[in-house]
């Protein structure tokens, strides 16, 4: 009886967890895609590239 109760408790908790995790994961992926697209469209990729193709003096401890 105790084992059945524990299993039921586990199953309920699992369903609760999935109810949160699956939509949260879908939301995260959508957010990542929207961020990537918006960032690219407003020119952040260019800013990133401009920084990355020059030696960053701060990064190497000079500037």
């Amino acid at each position: 009886m105790q084992k059945i109760k524990t299993s039921a408790k586990c199953a309920a908790a699992r369903v609760r967890s999935l109810a949160v995790r699956v939509p949260a994961w879908a939301l995260l992926c959508s957010l990542a895609a929207v961020m990537l697209l918006t960032g690219a469209l407003r020119g952040e990729a260019g800013i990133q590239l401009a920084k990355a193709i020059r030696v960053c003096l701060e990064c190497i401890g000079i500037g």
């Binding site: 967890s17 995260l28 990542a32 990133q48 920084k51 990355a52 000079i62």
Partner: protein, 294 residues
């Protein structure tokens, strides 16, 4: 009981080395003291790999976030942030364990003697919150205020190791500019490398802002661990084996778990499963613990 002993360590080491070589494959840079200037740097690599490393063919995500924030145009780094969010949603801190070159360097240092290592200590748990402070204060707040990449400038040991030391060694012009900041960064790097001999991945545990972001996404990522509580005998082997001092039985998707797989290797009953799973099988009963931090 498990009849075949699995060992992910050689595979992980191969992946770590291969990834470090692939993402730093501009070999000409190492001979000429120059950096790659091609379009591949539009893309962020998942781990902490300095864009100014002579071999780097991709951009560092933290460096890219700061490049946008330090400019006066935008207050949000959507593009690089999107990359980090995407990697985190897919694999979480698997990036730290398998794809970060600076994590690999720390692991190699940890192989050095003495054999007796410090697994955890008083204040270890509290210190782990420091990486969130580094993320919010150095990477975001101070970068926005000062318009300089403050994490890269004052703390990043990966930049010193991968870019600072090789570029300064190869470039006489840069040698003449070496001053207090360079010494400060070299001291931080040396301290962290020495600490790595005794503590497993101290930078990842306490200071890495990229690890902080991935740790927030670890409980939600598609790649996850689950425990079959029906076959688990609670022997504690996984907890003892975990180099990050996590307890996989209590929380298989802890924020601190870097997915190294040591717990999977040592489990005598094969109760720890890993994989890309959105909905775990009914037998994997302890997956509901993922929302809690251990």
């Amino acid at each position: 009981m498990k009849n075949k002993k699995s060992n992910r360590r050689p595979l992980r080491l191969i992946v770590q080395l291969l990834w470090a070589v692939i993402t730093n494959s501009y070999l000409t840079g190492f001979f000429q003291g120059k950096i790659y200037q091609g379009n591949l740097k539009n893309i962020c690599v998942p781990g902490l790999n300095c864009s100014s490393c002579p071999g780097a063919v991709g951009s560092c995500p933290i460096g890219s976030i700061q490049a946008v924030l330090s400019g006066r145009k935008y207050k949000l780094a959507l593009y690089a942030g999107g990359f980090v969010l995407m990697f985190g949603a897919l694999v979480g801190r698997l990036v730290c364990g398998w794809l970060c070159p600076f994590g690999l360097v720390q692991e190699i240092m940890h192989l050095l003697p003495p054999k007796k290592k410090l697994k955890t200590f008083r204040g270890d748990r509290q210190l782990r919150w420091l990486k969130f402070a580094v993320l919010f204060v150095l990477v975001v707040l101070l970068t926005l205020i000062s318009h300089e990449p403050m994490f890269c400038k004052w703390l990043c040991p990966a930049g010193t190791l991968e870019a600072g030391i090789p570029l300064v060694a190869l470039n006489e012009q840069l040698q003449s500019l070496v001053g207090g900041l360079y010494i400060h960064k070299v001291v931080i790097l040396v301290l962290l490398l020495v600490l790595s001999v005794f503590i497993y991945r101290p930078f990842c545990r306490y200071l890495c802002p990229l690890g902080a972001i991935y740790s927030l996404l670890n409980p939600l990522s598609l790649y996850r661990y689950s425990i079959n509580k029906h076959s688990c005998v609670n022997c504690g082997a996984c907890t003892r084996a975990c180099p990050m001092a996590c307890s996989p039985v209590e929380n298989p998707n802890s924020m601190e778990c870097i997915r190294c797989g040591k717990c999977v290797d040592v489990c005598p009953t094969d109760s720890i499963k890993t994989g890309f799973v959105l909905r775990p099988s009914p037998a994997d009963t302890s997956d509901e613990n993922t929302a809690q931090e251990n």
